[in-house]
């Protein structure tokens, strides 16, 4: 099972249902795509995020009705610094897809998806707590794992592993 090189050319990926669905239904939403290790990753931007998720959820060719996971990655010191990662799952088509949105490090905020999936609420709170990314429209954005009076966001790359002493 030797590793195949990643496919990043949109032309080669345009037959995949999720890519085709976004290209046809929401022009401009799809920034780039990558197919690597049997997993498809799509990049979109903050403006198109909610629309893209809604479309992928309802479109008959994709049916990504389940949000499996929300998390973030800190690419400090590059800019835009953060990537928020949504893992979607389609029960009907037995397929996974990853949607990524880049978020600036200076003022990290992004639209909340709690209106689409209520279950995203604790996941977004966790990202807010550990990365300091704010979610607009989240009903109850508070720290969830760290103590309420904690300073800093531990999963950021510039936060020391041992913590501040």
């Amino acid at each position: 099972m030797a590793l195949q090189p990643a496919v990043t050319d949109l032309e080669l990926l345009k037959d995949r249902p999720a890519v085709a669905c976004l290209l046809a239904g929401l022009p401009g939403a799809l920034q780039s795509a990558k197919f690597d290790r049997d997993e498809l990753t799509l990049w979109t931007d903050q403006i198109h995020l909610i629309g893209a998720l809604k479309l992928l959820r309802s479109s008959a060719t994709t049916r990504f009705t389940v949000l499996a996971d929300v998390t973030a990655v800190d690419w400090f010191p590059s800019e835009p610094r953060f990537e928020v990662v949504y893992s979607l799952l389609s029960h009907e088509r037995r397929e996974r897809i990853r949607i990524k949105v880049k978020v600036s490090g200076a003022d990290p905020y992004i639209e909340s998806v709690t209106a689409l999936w209520a279950g995203a609420s604790p996941f977004e709170r966790e990202i807010f707590d550990l990365f300091g990314i704010r979610f607009q429209g989240h009903p109850d954005l508070r720290r969830i794992l760290m103590p309420d009076d904690w300073e800093g966001h531990p999963l950021r790359k510039d936060y020391p592993v041992e913590g501040y002493r």
Partner: protein, 405 residues
Amino acid sequence: MPSIDQFRSVPVVETLGDDRTMVLNMGPQHPSTHGVLRLLLEIDGETIVRVRPDIGFLHTGIEKTCEAKFYQQVIPMTDRIDYLCPMTNNFAYVLAVEKLLGLEIPPRAMWIRLMLNELTRINSHLVWLGTHALDIGAMTVFLYCFREREEILKMFEMVAGQRMMTSYFRVGGVSMDLPLGFLDYLKNFARYFPDRIDQYSDLLTNNPIWMGRTKGVAHITQEDALELMLSGPTARGSGVDWDLRRDMPYGGYEKLEFKVPLATEGDVYARYQVRMAELRESIGMVKQAIANLPDGPVKADAPKIVLPDREKMKTQMESLIHHFKIVTEGFTVPEGEVYQGVESPRGEMGYYVVSDGTAKPYRVHMRSPCFANLNALGVMCEHNLLADVVAAIGSIDIVLGCVDR
């Protein structure tokens, strides 16, 4: 955009409650919260108006710590996330790293992993059943469940030298072959265990007190289950027909035959039925794994990733060098990212691993099933009685290590 100060925590208690209702604090040190879960219950008489879980008491920053460890050093950390199903976590992590590496493992290792993974599920479900029944007032079941659990822990000790924090799986296989006498012990266990499931079932399934405490309690609909990102037996009790082992097979599950138990009532009793049926399916899978277990190596032939056998390391220069390099510098993993979801006893356990091409993971994220399932507690408990909160917590089978990581 509002400033970050606005999101600083507001005192939780003040936002709850009005003249009619009172706020009751439950936990974090409460035996029926299965760990250190704190619940803020807003109650009107004995009826629940709102439930607000407060978590984080067991947060140890495992995701952060993983970023400072070599890939192989992360394995012992994964045990400690969900200490009732260590092998499942090991399994998910090593599968993710193997996918990143493009590494294939020998068939014997694959079958050993499947066998132990299902044994782990039985172990976890036994703790769930025992404590769940104990919470609702059936003490006897607990003692019977722990009798069998002890046997499983003995078997874990045989293979891994450890009862709970096994760390037995390795990237590229398992750490060592099964010890002599293990298979006979396991065969004997698999022979009498179905009978033991009947014993538990006799105590509970048609017990009027049990049914009275569980039927129609903490109900959740299929739509809510999907909306709230529920998974595992908790979702299957509400009719969500989804099991990663069957629907997106990983690590060799496509070679096993099993049914996915399903119930549609969506109450505590339905979730109980699903897990009881899963116990039977799991022991069936263990039997299939024993029957199919081939001879051969238990580690992949990848000297730069998998530690050499002790004997080789002491006699061959090459192996000694590889051993030294892996232990001191780790092994590098090509750039990329994978998400590996597995069906843990509690639901979808997902490992999202990002590699930047070095010997340490750039990011390890655990998608914990308990973390998502706990969120449903509020919906489940609304308009139920205070005493049923305990039944609801038991029925979603949370492990606080898994919630807080």
